[in-house]
C-alpha cells in the first residue's frame, strides 16, 4: 500500500508524560499523515493509551508539543479538540448506558441548536435541526449495521456492539482524524469484519485513522504505516512489512518473555 498524502495532519514533538516516577510517555515524536491509517502497537503498558489521552486533551503533556493541522493543541481541553474534528474512542467503550442507541448518536451532534439553555425552551428553534441530525444518525447506524437497535438502551449492547456504536457516535462529529483504542478487542468475528470494512471505507473517503491494536496480523493488513511503542517512545516506524522484521520490535515483543 502507498501512503496517499505525505503531509502530517497530526504531529507529536518530544511529548513527555510521567505519573510520579513513571515515564509513561518519554520524549515521543511521530507524525500521522493525512488520509492514512496508522497503526500504533506495542506491549502492554508501553504508553499507547496515555499517548491518546495526551492527543485528545484528557491529559496535558509535561513537555513537548502536539500539533494538529499545523496548530498546537497541547493545552486545549478535550471538547475543543473534538470540535476541531479530532475524535477518539476508548479502550473500554464509554457508552451512555441509560440512553438509547439513537440518543447516544444524537448527543454527539456538532450542531449547537437547542443545546443552549435559552434556545432549548423554544422548540421551533431546533426542531428542524433535530430531524436532520436524526437522519444523519440513522444513516450512520445503518452504515455500521446497528440501525435495528436504535431504540435499545446503550447499556443493553454487547461489547462488540459498543465498540461499533462508539465508532458510529464519533462519526456524528464528521471527524477528519479518528483515534481508535483497540477497536477489535473482544469483538466477535462477524462484527470485527464489519468494523474493519467500515474503517477501510471511511479511509477511502478521506478520514485519517490512528489505531491502537493488539491484533498484529489485522493491523498490518490495513495500515499504511506502523509505529511501535516501547517504554513510552517509538522504537520503530514505517511500512508494516518492514517494521515486523525489525529486530528491536521482535526484542520488545518477545524479549520480556524469552529472557
Amino acid at each position: 500500500m502507498t501512503i496517499p498524502d505525505g503531509t502530517p495532519v497530526l504531529r507529536l514533538d518530544r511529548v513527555v508524560k510521567s505519573f510520579g516516577g513513571l515515564m509513561a510517555v518519554d520524549h515521543c515524536s511521530f507524525d500521522v499523515e493525512a488520509g492514512t491509517i496508522t497503526g500504533l502497537i506495542g506491549p502492554n503498558g508501553a504508553g499507547k493509551t496515555t499517548t491518546f489521552n495526551l492527543i485528545a486533551g484528557v491529559l496535558a503533556p509535561d513537555d513537548g508539543d502536539i500539533r494538529y493541522r499545523g496548530e498546537s493543541i497541547a493545552t486545549l481541553p478535550p471538547d475543543r479538540i473534538a470540535r476541531r474534528g479530532l475524535v477518539r474512542t476508548f479502550q473500554t467503550p464509554r457508552i451512555f448506558a441509560r440512553m438509547t442507541v439513537w440518543e447516544n448518536m444524537m448527543f454527539a451532534t456538532p450542531e449547537p441548536a437547542g443545546e443552549g439553555m435559552l434556545r432549548a425552551l423554544f422548540r421551533p428553534a431546533w426542531k428542524r435541526q433535530e430531524e436532520k441530525t436524526s437522519d444523519a444518525a440513522r444513516d450512520i447506524l445503518t452504515f455500521v449495521e446497528l440501525e435495528p437497535l436504535a431504540n435499545e438502551l446503550g447499556g443493553s449492547l454487547s461489547g462488540g456492539q459498543r465498540k461499533l456504536l462508539e465508532l458510529a457516535r464519533a462519526l456524528m462529529l464528521r471527524p477528519q482524524v479518528i483515534l481508535l483504542d483497540e477497536p477489535t478487542a473482544g469483538v466477535s468475528p462477524t462484527m470485527r469484519r464489519i468494523l474493519i470494512d467500515r474503517i477501510l471505507e471511511l479511509n477511502r473517503t478521506g478520514t485519517t485513522f490512528l489505531i491502537i491494536e493488539h491484533d498484529l496480523d489485522m493491523i498490518m493488513r490495513i495500515c499504511h504505516k506502523m509505529i511501535v511503542m516501547h517504554y513510552g517512545k517509538p522504537i520503530a516506524e514505517g511500512e508494516p512489512q518492514v517494521v515486523r522484521k525489525d529486530p528491536r520490535v521482535l526484542e520488545a515483543y518477545l524479549g520480556g518473555e524469552v529472557a
Partner: protein
C-alpha cells in the same frame, strides 16, 4: 379529635407543591446531570430570606411601626419581585458553590455541597443584621391577606397561587429537559469524559444545571416563606435536603412528573403521621411521650422508602427512554 379535612388537604397540597419545586431543582442536579448535591437546603434558605427581605416593609415606614418589628432590612417590594430575587439568590449561591466544587468527582461533590450548606447556615445564623439570627422574622408579608382575600379564604388562595407557579415551572423544566440541552445533561450524567470527548463543554453545562436547580429551590423558598409568614434559620436544617432526596428517589430520578409525585407521597406520609395520636392502641404511648410521634414519623418514612426501593427501584415513575424520532419517509407521510 375530629379531622378538618379541607384545611388539612389544603396545607398538605401547598407543602407538597413547595417540595415538588425543591425536587424539580434537585432532579436537574442529580436526576439529569448526575450531580450529588447534599446541600440543597441552602438554596431554599437563600430564596426564603431573599424574598422575605425584599417584601418586608422598610424599617422606619409606617407599616414597620405598626408591626412593632425589629428587623433591620426590608424593601417593601411586591411579591413577584421577591420571587424573582429568590430565584436570583438561589441561583447565585448555586453558581458560587458550583464554581468552586462542580468539577469535583461525585462523592467529593456530595461532601463539598453538604459542607458549603452548613457554612451558609452558620453565616445566616451569625449575620443577625440580615436574618435576626435565631429569633428570625415573624412578620413576613402574606400579600393580599386580609385586604383582597379574607383571612379565612387565604389558604385556598395561596394553594392556587402555589399550584399555578409550580406547574408553570414544571412545564418550563420539562421543556428544558426534553430538548438537546437536556440530552447533554443526561450524557454528562452517564459519562462526563465521553461527553467531553464528544465536544461538549461539560464544566459549563454542569454549572448551568447547578444554577438552574438552585434557582428553582430559591423560588420554593419564596413560596414557603410567604406561606408560613415567618422565617428563621432553624427552619433550614439538612433534614430538608434529605427529604427532597427521598422525594426524588421515590418518585423517579430523571422524570420531572415522577419527582413531583414523589414529593406528594413524601409530604402526604409525613403529614399523616399526626393522625398517629388518633389510633386507639397508640395513644397510650403518645400521651406519655411527646417525642413518640415525631420519632415514629421518620421510622414510617424510612419504611416507605425501603418499600418503594424494593418494588420500584427506579422510582414510581422511572425515567422514560427517548425513542428515535421518525425517518424522512415518516415525515413525508405525515
Amino acid at each position: 379529635m375530629t379531622v378538618e379535612w379541607i384545611p388539612f388537604l389544603t396545607l398538605l397540597g401547598t407543602l407538597a407543591l413547595i417540595y415538588s419545586l425543591l425536587a424539580l431543582g434537585l432532579n436537574l442536579h442529580y436526576g439529569y446531570t448526575g450531580l450529588l448535591n447534599f446541600g440543597h437546603v441552602a438554596f431554599f434558605a437563600a430564596g426564603a430570606f431573599a424574598s422575605a427581605l425584599a417584601t418586608l416593609p422598610p424599617p422606619g415606614s409606617a407599616a414597620y411601626q405598626e408591626l412593632g418589628a425589629r428587623y433591620q432590612i426590608g424593601f417593601g417590594w411586591p411579591l413577584p419581585v421577591g420571587m424573582a430575587l429568590a430565584a436570583v439568590a438561589g441561583g447565585a449561591l448555586a453558581l458560587l458553590i458550583g464554581a468552586t466544587s462542580v468539577r469535583l468527582t461525585s462523592h467529593y461533590l456530595a461532601i463539598a455541597t453538604f459542607a458549603m450548606a452548613e457554612i451558609f447556615h452558620s453565616f445566616l445564623s451569625n449575620e443577625e443584621w440580615l436574618t435576626q439570627g435565631v429569633y428570625g422574622i415573624s412578620v413576613v408579608p402574606q400579600p393580599l391577606k386580609g385586604t383582597v382575600i379574607p383571612v379565612s379564604q387565604y389558604p385556598y388562595f395561596y394553594l392556587l397561587f402555589t399550584a399555578i407557579t409550580v406547574f408553570a415551572l414544571l412545564f418550563l423544566t420539562q421543556r428544558l429537559t426534553e430538548s438537546p440541552f437536556g440530552r447533554v445533561l443526561r450524557g454528562v450524567r452517564e459519562d462526563e469524559l465521553a461527553a467531553r470527548s464528544l465536544g461538549k463543554n461539560t464544566p459549563r453545562v454542569k454549572l448551568q444545571a447547578f444554577t438552574l436547580g438552585g434557582a428553582l429551590a430559591g423560588i420554593a423558598g419564596s413560596l414557603w416563606v410567604h406561606f408560613i409568614g415567618a422565617v428563621h434559620v432553624g427552619q433550614f436544617v439538612p433534614l430538608i435536603t434529605f427529604q427532597v432526596w427521598l422525594a426524588v428517589l421515590m418518585g423517579g430520578a430523571g422524570n420531572n412528573l415522577g419527582v413531583v409525585f414523589g414529593a406528594f407521597i413524601l409530604v402526604a406520609f409525613r403529614e399523616s403521621t399526626r393522625f398517629l395520636n388518633n389510633i386507639p392502641l397508640l395513644d397510650r404511648f403518645t400521651a406519655a411521650n411527646p417525642t413518640f410521634v415525631p420519632s415514629l414519623r421518620f421510622v414510617i418514612i424510612g419504611l416507605l422508602l425501603v418499600a418503594i426501593i424494593r418494588f420500584f427501584p427506579d422510582g414510581v415513575l422511572p425515567e422514560r427512554h427517548r425513542k428515535a424520532i421518525g425517518t424522512r419517509q415518516d415525515r413525508r407521510l405525515s
